[in-house]
Structures are given as structure tokens and as C-alpha cells.
Symmetry: C2
Subunit: 472 residues, 2 copies
């Protein structure tokens, strides 16, 4: 089975309408262009043959059982905010949106968890927890993402330093398998050694193994106060060397980001958002949150002392919400600033060992420049996930840009590998990084990935051609 | 291939000797009886055909490539302290000990990690971290376990409440695949979305997917002070109801255990270790550790106030090491006490949602008693992992004991499932719980487990007949 897939017929359309509802099914040219792509159309624009908005797991199960029998590919879609070309119908077939499955169940205080359907928005899940005095920490940059999308891509974000990733908060998953089976992976328990850890394999599998229908997430007591510190340094190396020193302090920071002056200048120039600290070629931004003012104060004092003892030109304590906002607005404006400052962008999302950050950043600039591309690395210094934005200048032709980005990415991934890093820290592989993954992981790992994919999806009907490509 | 496996010949023995060294190979009756079983001989006693102590990954790779070609099963062995009948040669073949691969590399301060070979002891890894002012939190009861065994079984322990499981500390794994390939799963990075999360699938796979040759573990800044609280209650229900109240306080406790008076009496009677708190039918033991005395004091005060406001008869603060020791010695003596108080034991290691602990314990006693068995549940109240020890009395025949434990376990697992729990919280499936897992997980999940096993081990030569059984 698998390639080539069945081209859908009127009978197929009617079947999907019959197990859902005609007003929730669109076909052919009636499908909105938005559903042809995610936030990175560069990684593929593919029209679905049918687009359906499902209401429950039974509908998903019926659609999958049918698609399995008929050899029709199915792609599950959340909010479509992915950055890897993941949620697209590369081989046509059905796009199945779970955005109407957006129920959030009441917080379970005894188990300190919250359960939601995949289409619930991350912000709504965070707000539902906060309304009950609890805290869902994962905080990827994209606020309009769905919680299902966050789980299936293992969304990261800058608070990973203290709290970890989406993975670390997923207690259990309910999902539909490619053959239509509805299954539960783990349950609302803290520990589990019952069979293979399939739950963690599913998290981050980018919709290629099963379709999420419900997730239960761990919550924490909410911190009550927060403080941001800005530490300017004369050089990026000094800035990066400060990271392990901050992490060795008794109190673990929530976030550690870095910005180079060049990037601050871009944001100030293009967005007119002004960074409160004018000194330093590179700044480290450290955020603490705590459950008491006392605890916060001692964390902040210790970090400030460590900064000044290790070459920081200053240590600005942004203790008020306004002052902290002026820092985080510049950090949050980076992507927008770079977009305003260039014709197009290509993104490299490597993660390297924390000890190798400065080395990576320096070498990345040299690599990109050797291909005539300006590059602005920035990001999560606390976890080594450096978003390396390649910026297209006006005078580059399409062909030049394509060639230069491909050559740069090839070298950047090789650099990351050499430094003990990985290809993607949080954005995933999707359709955009398959070729690079093959090179990075090597043939034996790709063979293992394929075997794992087949263990779940023997007919290759679920989000085919993502992460790995069989059709060659 | 697979069943039946090749019976090993003198040629096979000589080949293994040639790729290792004759003085590290034992065959047939020269193999020590210890290697026929783990800590639970009840779950199977199986003689290996050959026992070899390897020194490096190249030897393991050579042995696996040969075994793969020749269809010889291989079982990797760590310290042999497992409780599920996992590290045994159920189908004969090779037992491969990694206990001579026990190197611990210097702490990597910049990345805050430690790297060790699988045969290093957990205690030695903990000590190596502590010597550098850092902290490896996972703390399963068994101190003589190997770190590889801890990783491959995802060892738990009582500090999971605050710090999580072994899984949460594994940065990356180097392993040999059944065909002899040497592979790396992730690297020393904090985040990773590069392909499928194979690393987490391997953790807890009980030696059925690959053989670990090196692990890199995350460390934390070491806490500097600790305090234990004992909260006696009139009933188990009140005791269990206190758990979510403790967890809602701003400061997360390191451990929350519970003991019923009956069990304390057994330890006091059999081991002459005396519990410092005499009141209450059930006691909650809460441990905090912190990075400052100030922080610790406010955590302890808040917990004590919450206890007294929620029905605790008292709240004993064991602030000195001696006083804390008197609490933890009784907790630590439970298994020994029960062994002294019964002819034999069978263990049930379910984990239930924290909200259902009291319900489970009550019902578990009723179930066991209905089959004429005394049961003493105890354990990790903070994570719902209740070790339910079935105790054999003197007047039971072998046949009666076998029948009664089987009937009790069947009902206990069904009870756990009904309450939203799992079959095993931390001891795993091994050979001892396969039959129960099949019932618990259901045929579709077992089919998925089998497909996953085959994705790694298409010839079924690695620790066959554990977790799942193909040979039926």
C-alpha cells in the first residue's frame, strides 16, 4: 500500500461527511489556502483533497479506520503555528482539524493536573490553571498554538531552564492510531514502568504516529514573584561563560537568554522598542521566579554578585513589571525586527551543549558570511538552543538565496554535530529539515526511525513524508 | 529466526573468548548460580550457556553482531538487583555483564552533567557528584544497583515527588543495537526535537531494545539542608487527604511517604527499630530539602500549619539528623520487617492517581484477605506508587500460596486499572508480570509493544521473553 495513495473520490468525500457532518467538510478549491501550509510556507504548500473539522475521538476513529482501509493519507492539524512545515498534506488526502475539540476540563486539585482536548489553546490552558492558583510552565514563544500541537512537537520555550519542556508536563495521552484504534498512553500517575514508554515516543513525533484526542498535564504551585536581571558584558564569550556560573547558584533561574548589541540595535531601529541597558557587546538576561519575596531576593542578590565577580559591566535589576517589560519586549521583538530588517529569513534551530554556545555563535557567523549571508544568532542561552536566523539582503536573487542558505545550513548542522549538539532544539523536522536530518542522523538511525514509524503506521497514511521520507 | 534459538557450541564459546578474553568467559556449570536469577528468583531461575564480562563497547558490538548472525539470545546484566525477573537468560544463550565497565568520568561543570559507564554503581555516581558540590537526585531503595540498571529500568524511589525519576536526569545514551551497531541517542543538550525521541523509549525498556554502554546524567546544585516531618492521623483517609494539601504549598517536598501503625508495629517487633511518633493509625512522613535554612524553615512551618489545620494529631519536626534517622530507619526497615514476619512475600508495585491512594489501600486489604492473605501496603504517597506486599503465613501450602497470590494480584491489578492506575510504578515487568501486563494493557497495546520491539530487534535476540512474550 502507501505510495501512491488513492486519489479521493466523491464516495470518499461522502463517507467523511456521513461520519462527521456536511457543514464541517470542505473539498478541493473550497478549502482555505491557510490549510495548505503552516507558518513556514517555505517548507511546502500542499492542497488537501478534503478538510474536515472533527468534534470527537469517535469521528477521528471512523475517519482513520476508513483512510486505513482505503489508503488515503491523513494529516492532523492544530493551530497551524508550526515552523517546520509539519502540518501539511504533502501527499494530498485528508486534513483533519482538531481545533473544535478545544474543551478544557476543570483543574484536578488532588492530582494537580489539568486535562484538555488538543484544540484548546495553550494560553487558555495556562489561564485555566492560573485561575485555580496553579501554573503550567511551558512557554514557547507562540502564544496562539494549540495544546495538542505543543505536545506533539514537544514545544520548548525559554522557561525550559528551570521547568523543562512540554514533555516534562505530560502525564498521559489519549490518541487514535492510524488503524482507528483509540488508545491511552499512561494515565494520571506520577510514575510508570508498565511496558514501553510509548507516551514519550509520541511526544515530539509531529503527528506521524497517532492523533491526539486528549492530554492530561501536570501543574505546579504558581510562583508569586518574579525578577529579571540584565548583565552586560564586553564580549559574547564572557557572556556565555557566565551561564554555568548562574546555574551553579543554589536557586535555579527560570530563563537565561542572551542578546548581542547588534541585534538590540536592529530591534531599536526597526521597532522603536528601546532596551534599558546601553552597555556591553552582549547581554545576559536572567529571570527568576519564586514563591516568596525573601527567596527571590536572595536568588537575585547571589546572581548579581556572581555577575559582577565574573566580568559583568553592571547588573541591572528590573524589579518592577514595567522595567522587566522593557527588557522582554526587546527580546520578544527579535523575530519581527529581523523580518523588518531583511527581505526573507531562513531559520536554523540547533541546540548545542551549554559549554559550546560562544564557540557555536562565532563559527556560525563566519559560516554564513562565507556564503554572503548575514546571520543573527540569539536565544536560549540557558539551554543551548540558539535560533540562528539567516537574513536575506535585497541584492540576492532567489537562486543565490536558495543556494547560500542550503550551503550555510549544511555547514551549521555539521558544526552543531561537531560541537556535540543536535539539529533541532524545539522546532522539529517536519518537511523542512528531512534532507538535513538524514545527513545528521546517519543511515542506521534513519532505518530505526523508519522501523518505529512502521510499528505505528504500517500503511504510512499518517502525515506521510514528515520527519522521514519513504518515497524515494 | 528467533525461536528456537541456536544451542551454543564450542565454536561459539571460542568466538566469544576470541573477541574478549578467555579469563572473562565462563561456560555451563562454571557459571555462578547468582547469574541464573535476579533478586526475585520467584520470577525465574535460568542458567546462561555462557557468561562474559565485557570491558568496552567494541566487545559488546562484536558479541552482538555474532549473536545476531548466529541467532543466539543475549541478556545484559548489571548489578542484578532487579525485582522483576528481568536480567535472566530465559532462553539460555549469553549473559553479558557490564559490571567491569564502571568508569565514572569527571563532572562536567559547564554542562552540569556526569558521564558514566553502565556498570558504575549508583552510590558511586551520587558520591562523585556530591564531591563536586552537585547532586544526582534519583534515589531508589536499592543502593547497590548499577547506574545502567537504573536507566534501563527507569528506577524511581521516594524523591520522585520533587525531582522526578531516573528518566528525568538522562541527557543521552550510547548503546549497542542487537545487530552490533553502536549508536548515540541524543547528546549533552537540554532540549532536542531531532527525530523520534528514542532515548526515552529506551529508558525503562528493561534491556530488550539495546545494551547501554554509556550514559550522561543531569546534575543539580546540591541542597544544603533537610528536615523531616511526621504527621500522625486517626485514619488512613485523613492521612491520604493531606497529600494534595502538602503539594499545594508553594514549596515542593522531596518525599512524601506513608506508614500505617500495623506496619510500624511489625518493624518495631521484628527489628527493634522504634518509631519516634506513637500516636495515630497512619502517619505521613514529609521530607523537605532546601538551599538555605531560611527557605527550609518557611517550608516546614507552612507544612506543619497545614497538617494541624487538616486533622493531624501532631506534627513532629525531626530537625536533627539523629531524629530524622529514627524515622527513616523504620521506613527503610519495612521490607526486612515483613520478611521477618512472614514465610514468603509476593510484591505488587502498582501506581495509582494520588487522589485514589486511600481507596486503593482499603480495597487492596479486602482483596488479599478474601484470598486468605495478609497484605501490608506502604510506600510513596507523594507519587501514588504503593508497594503492596503480600505476606505468606506459615500454615499455607505452596499450592495455596501460589493460587492465592495469583488471584490477589489479578484483582489488585484490575483495581489499579479501575482507579486509573498502572500495573507497575517502578519495578517493571521483566519476566514476572508478563501475563498480568497482557491482561492489563490489552491486545492492541501488546501488538504495538511487539511492533516496537521488532523495530529494534527484528531477530528477537536481546533479552527475549521479557516485558512481552512472542513464543506462544
Amino acid at each position: 500500500m502507501a505510495y501512491p495513495y488513492k486519489k479521493m473520490t466523491a464516495d470518499d468525500f461522502n463517507f467523511i461527511r456521513s461520519v462527521t457532518s456536511p457543514e464541517r467538510v470542505w473539498v478541493g478549491e473550497n478549502i482555505d489556502y491557510d490549510y495548505y501550509k503552516d507558518e513556514m510556507p517555505e517548507y511546502g504548500v500542499f492542497p488537501p483533497e478534503l478538510y474536515v473539522e472533527v468534534l470527537n475521538k469517535e469521528e477521528i476513529s471512523a475517519i482513520m479506520a476508513y483512510a486505513y482501509k482505503e489508503n488515503i493519507p491523513v494529516v492532523c492539524r492544530g493551530a497551524g503555528t508550526g515552523l517546520a512545515g509539519g502540518a501539511t498534506c504533502k501527499y494530498g488526502g485528508i486534513m483533519l482539524s482538531v481545533m473544535r475539540m478545544n474543551k478544557i476540563f476543570p483543574v484536578d486539585h488532588k492530582n494537580q493536573t489539568i486535562t484538555a482536548q488538543p484544540g484548546a489553546l495553550l494560553t487558555d490552558v495556562q489561564a485555566a490553571a492560573a485561575a485555580e492558583g496553579l501554573f503550567y510552565p511551558p512557554d514557547p514563544g507562540e502564544k496562539t498554538a494549540s495544546i495538542g500541537g505543543n505536545v506533539i512537537t514537544n514545544a520548548g520555550g525559554m522557561k525550559a531552564v528551570r521547568y523543562g519542556l512540554t514533555r516534562d508536563f505530560v502525564r498521559c495521552i489519549e490518541a487514535v492510531m492510524p488503524d482507528g484504534s483509540i488508545m491511552n498512553f499512561s494515565s494520571n500517575v506520577v510514575k510508570n514502568t508498565t511496558g514501553y514508554d510509548v507516551k514519550d515516543l509520541i511526544i515530539g513525533s509531529e503527528g506521524t504516529l497517532c492523533i491526539l484526542t486528549q492530554v492530561t498535564l501536570k501543574l505546579l504551585p504558581a510562583p508569586t514573584c518574579t525578577c529579571t536581571l540584565v548583565m552586560p558584558f564586553n564580549s559574547l564569550e564572557e557572556c556565555a561563560d557566565m551561564v554555568p556560573k548562574v546555574l551553579e547558584l543554589p536557586f535555579v533561574p527560570t530563563a537565561i537568554e542572551f542578546l548581542e548589541r547588534e541585534l538590540i540595535d536592529i530591534v531599536e531601529r526597526t521597532l522603536h522598542k528601546y532596551f534599558p541597558v546601553k552597555q556591553g557587546e552582549a547581554v545576559l538576561i536572567v529571570m527568576y521566579d519564586a514563591s516568596s519575596r525573601q527567596e527571590l531576593d536572595s536568588a537575585v542578590t547571589a546572581a548579581a554578585e556572581a555577575a559582577l565577580a565574573n566580568g559583568a559591566l553592571d547588573c541591572c535589576i528590573a524589579g518592577t513589571p514595567e522595567r522587566a517589560a522593557s527588557v522582554w519586549e526587546v527580546r520578544g521583538g527579535i523575530l519581527e525586527g529581523m523580518k523588518a530588517d531583511s527581505v526573507a529569513q531562513e531559520e536554523c534551530d540547533v541546540v548545542v551543549p551549554r559549554a559550546r554556545i560562544a564557540e557555536y555563535v562565532k563559527a556560525a557567523k563566519t559560516i554564513a558570511l562565507s556564503h554572503g549571508i548575514r546571520v543573527e544568532p540569539c536565544g536560549h542561552c540557558g539551554d543551548g538552543n540558539i535560533h540562528t536566523e539567516l537574513l536575506r539582503s535585497e541584492n540576492m536573487s532567489d537562486e543565490e538565496w536558495k543556494k547560500a542558505t542550503h550551503a550555510s545550513l549544511t555547514e551549521l548542522y555539521a558544526l552543531s554535530k561537531k560541537l556535540g549538539g543536535q539539529l533541532s532544539g524545539e522546532h522539529g523536522i517536519g518537511n523542512g529539515r528531512i534532507e538535513f536530518l538524514e545527513e545528521f542522523a546517519g543511515p542506521r538511525m534513519i532505518r530505526l526511525y523508519k522501523a518505529i514509524k512502521l510499528a505505528f503506521d504500517d500503511k504510512l497514511i499518517l502525515n506521510p513524508g514528515k520527519i522521514i521520507e519513504f518515497n524515494k
